[in-house]
């Protein structure tokens, strides 16, 4: 029995100062199993149309925008169920940070195990 974790993928920064994109066509539907890098969604910006590959291997749980809807960079696009325990990779709704990297998530402080004992005074 493997754990599954929900991961939400936010609209990545498509570069060149673009702040939003229109969903042209979903290439996967809720319930579909999808491979990493498989075609996920087709988007259009003011400059071009792009096909976004899936960032995960897993099952599509929810689409957060209808075809024809405008989505802001950083807004949720799709939620996946992926195999693996929670907290393995803390990049759920992170989205891309720009041309490189990911936005760190501050939602909750990292967990700790170490406990302290106050000094005797």
């Amino acid at each position: 029995m493997t754990d599954t974790t929900e991961r939400t993928f936010a609209l990545p920064d498509l570069g060149e100062g673009l702040v939003e994109a229109t969903v042209l066509e979903w290439l996967a539907a809720p319930g579909d199993r999808i491979g990493r890098n498989a075609p996920l969604v087709e988007l259009e910006t003011t400059k071009s149309a792009v096909e976004i590959p899936s960032p995960y291997a897993g099952t599509v749980v929810r689409l957060h925008a209808e075809e024809g809807e405008v989505v802001q960079v950083g807004s949720a696009l799709v939620t996946f169920a992926v195999e693996g325990p929670a907290g393995e990779a803390d990049d759920g709704a992170a989205g891309q940070a720009g041309i490189v990297g990911r936005v760190p998530q501050d939602g909750e402080a990292p967990r700790r195990r170490v406990r302290l004992r106050p000094p005797e005074e």
């Binding site: 570069g15 060149e16 100062g17 702040v19 990779a89 803390d90 990049d91 940070a97 720009g98 041309i99 490189v100 990297g101 990911r102 936005v103 760190p104 501050d106 402080a109 990292p110 967990r111 700790r112 195990r113 170490v114 406990r115 302290l116 004992r117 106050p118 000094p119």
Partner: protein, 347 residues
């Protein structure tokens, strides 16, 4: 997103404090607008800072507002970017070059060390170098190689350079104004991992009572002092929250200026709490933590109840993105070091 900045920075009434919630990206952007507006000699340039507005949108909209003669793109040639800054500064300009990522500074080290840092000395003070080198720095965003380096020790070691690293939007705004208004070259290190951190920022035109080289205490505590800069300040504040649950009160010092370093401020805090732990992302060996440890020991030795502890990155090349959580100082490593200082018994 940038509309907020324009509106905030655009209000010309300098007397009224103007507070807006904004991210660190927007705070740096607002500071750049302020200096571009107040001083016609300032210039912003670097890779993709113009038309694109920077890979992190920090220079978004600046070219539109100030024109392509003052905000412009350069070739992908870091040595040339700094060389140009040196030449412009020699001719009376106040350049604010950006090197796109920390690791991209290495190709420019010759210009930084051999020209920028020593021109003032070489000219017997006749040629100041009012250059602010903006350097998106440190790790935490799972970026590829050369995008997560911590170069503060390298630059702090070079005579003639000043080095600072803000940890929140307000200080990012304040430190950038100070850096640009300073007649010496300043390496201004922006913690990429905190770019999206949103907080209220007062767009005051006067950096106020925080002179160059002054650290600040962000949290008071009596059992031990945590010293950090950049994104690690935030992590130390989280560690202090946890410690408080256990009845341990940690003081958190945001160093801010890494050169000149606030030796007196550090020593004063360590003398109060009698214990100090310095935290940084850079590899341990010959990192700036060694300097902090030495300064505290030299100035507060008699007051210390335990040796100064260092929690740092490991002595390995900065790892690929997925390994960042293993490399960067964790809450547990910080708390363990604190515990060692609490338990320390003199032999």
């Amino acid at each position: 997103m940038t509309g907020t900045i324009t509106e905030a920075a655009g209000a010309a009434d300098a007397s009224a404090p103007r507070v807006r919630e904004m991210s660190m990206q927007q705070a740096v952007n607002a500071a750049l607008r302020t200096v571009l507006r107040e001083d016609p000699r300032t210039l912003v340039f670097g890779e993709d800072v113009g038309a694109l507005g920077g890979v992190f949108r920090v220079t978004d909209g600046l070219q539109e507002e100030f024109g392509a003669e003052r905000v412009f793109d350069t070739p992908l040639a870091e040595s040339a970017i700094i060389g140009m800054a040196v030449g412009l500064a020699m001719n009376g300009w106040r350049p604010i070059p950006e090197l796109q990522f920390d690791g991209f500074a290495y190709p420019a080290v010759d210009q930084i060390v051999n020209q920028l840092a020593r021109m003032n000395y070489r000219s017997r003070g006749a040629v100041p170098m009012p250059v602010t080198l903006r350097l998106p720095s440190f790790g935490g965003i799972q970026a590829p190689e050369h995008h997560g380096e911590s170069l503060e020790a390298l630059f702090a070691h070079v005579p003639g350079l000043k080095v600072c690293a803000p940890c929140d939007p307000q200080d990012a705004y304040r430190l950038l104004l100070q850096s640009v208004r300073c007649d010496d070259p300043v390496v201004y290190m922006e913690p990429k991992a905190r770019y999206w951190d949103r907080r209220p920022v007062e767009l005051a035109h006067d950096p106020g009572d925080m002179p160059v080289g002054r650290s600040r205490v962000l949290r008071r505590g009596r059992h031990a002092t945590l010293v950090a800069w950049g994104a690690m300040v935030h992590r130390c504040l989280q560690a202090a929250e946890y410690a408080a649950e256990d009845g341990v009160e940690l003081e958190v010092v945001d160093l801010r200026w890494l050169k000149p370093i606030d030796a007196e401020g550090l020593a004063a805090s360590a003398a109060r709490t009698r214990r100090a732990v310095v935290v940084h992302e850079a590899p341990l060996t010959a990192g700036l933590g060694a300097e902090v440890s030495a300064l505290v020991t030299e100035r507060a030795f008699g007051a210390l109840a335990a040796p100064v502890e260092r929690v740092a990155g490991f002595d390995v090349p900065y790892p690929a993105g997925p390994l960042e959580p293993q490399y960067l100082p964790t809450i547990d490593r910080i708390l363990s070091a604190v515990q060692r200082t609490l338990e320390y018994k003199r032999p």
